[in-house]
Symmetry: none
Subunit: 217 residues, 2 copies
DNA sequence: CATAATTGTATCATAAATGTTTCAAAAATA
DNA sequence: TATTTTTGAAACATTTATGATACAATTATG
């Protein structure tokens, strides 16, 4: 389980981040100021820190200095307008940054990229004759590349990362679309049908009546 | 991973350097005076040292003397006005120098040049019939030189160094332009179209719908 | 200072992705 | 088995992204 610490004083943003990341299988804790952040880092292991620059008590820059000794990757959160702070953050050793307001999908991609860089985990997911390269975003079936759209790709990724688990339509929708599921649409179904067709996954992607879908090997 | 030590007492400059270099894939540490620099060199391997002449405690000239035994290339940082120190530095064994205030792009080019000289790594990147000489900045296609503008050249370099990775527009922009990407412009797209046209890279530079572009062989 | 080269914006056309609707097929329920 | 509900499949409409071109603005160069 990958643990992420979110150091951010605005609860709205903090919660948004937490929800988005936990949906993708990360465990998140939140600290609301720099001091609290420092405390938490001391008492528990984290694999990644998301750090807002403008914090009460200890600010982001000071905290980064403090974190340095722990060898934990850091992604800075900063306002789009506040260029100088962002620059400063990177200087001090943040591994990446993301600007507010941010695109959740991109944030997730960056979190993964930073974690990959640190852990040297593979960027390639394999299921039978199916291969997903999360660096190049190229998907191959029996070695042959198959063009997937963004939604298709993200649904596939969700499935592969949640093998043998029946996923509710709601989960799928909220994970991929990053917005609340209002029910009664067939959008998810349609995309899954297209996925099945393109990758010949009739047997792997099973529909779970009244619930959603399940991916198996 | 190439490690660079920045020995510089002004945090602003130090940070600027670190940011610019880390964006281009170098890992940087900072020392804030000569003594600290000497310590760090003793305890860790560095591939290159950026060294300010005017330092507290031990000054740059003394430190250079000390470094000599380690066989690490050095680039001197010096004020524009202070020509004599520059000369002195070179005499003492600096491999290059850069004057404050400096142009980031030029600095990066010099860092690469010095590292190449030291490691005797090739200055020529080759992808199929495409050749990029990073010394002369001459790009040839099937042996024939092709004129590229600065932006085109840097985008191409970024692509060649990140083969088979889907790059977000934002990443491309911030790497090449060294400033934050505000979104919703077509600038990157346009330059990529020009690159494709000039070098006939329709197949190599693929657009990744809703994401950005990807360079493949 | 004038000219040329580069870079960036605006526009339109095209292509691709997405989502809704419809109807047929399948599954559950009684 | 009949009925209801859900899913599959196809066609269509809508939205969005990219390619291409022309032109404006900026920056370099002599």
């Amino acid at each position: 389980m990958t643990h992420i610490l979110i150091v951010e004083d605005e609860a709205t943003i903090s919660n948004l981040l937490k929800m988005a990341l936990e949906k993708h299988g990360y465990k998140c804790d939140c600290a609301f100021d720099g001091e609290m952040g420092a405390d938490m880092i001391e008492n528990k292991h984290y694999d990644l820190i998301l750090l807002d620059v403008m914090l009460p008590k200890i600010n982001g820059f000071e905290l980064i200095e403090y974190i340095k000794g722990f060898d934990i990757p850091v992604i800075f959160i900063t306002a789009k307008t506040d260029i100088t702070s962002r620059v400063k953050g990177l200087n001090l050793g943040a591994d990446d940054y993301i600007t507010k307001p941010f695109d959740i999908t991109e944030l997730q991609a960056r979190v993964e990229a930073v974690l990959r860089r640190y852990n040297k985990t593979s960027a390639v997911l394999t299921v039978n004759d199916l291969e997903i390269n999360t660096n190049s975003r190229i998907v191959t079936k029996n070695g042959k590349p198959v063009e997937l759209t963004l939604k298709e790709y993200e649904i596939l990724l969700l499935f592969v990362r949640n093998k043998n688990i029946a996923l509710y339509r709601e989960m799928i929708y909220e994970n991929v679309w990053n917005e609340p599921y209002m029910g009664d649409t067939r959008t998810v179904d349609l995309h899954i049908q297209r996925l099945r067709k393109k990758l010949d996954l009739k047997d792997n992607i099973q529909s779970v009546y009244k619930v959603g879908y399940r991916f198996t090997e």
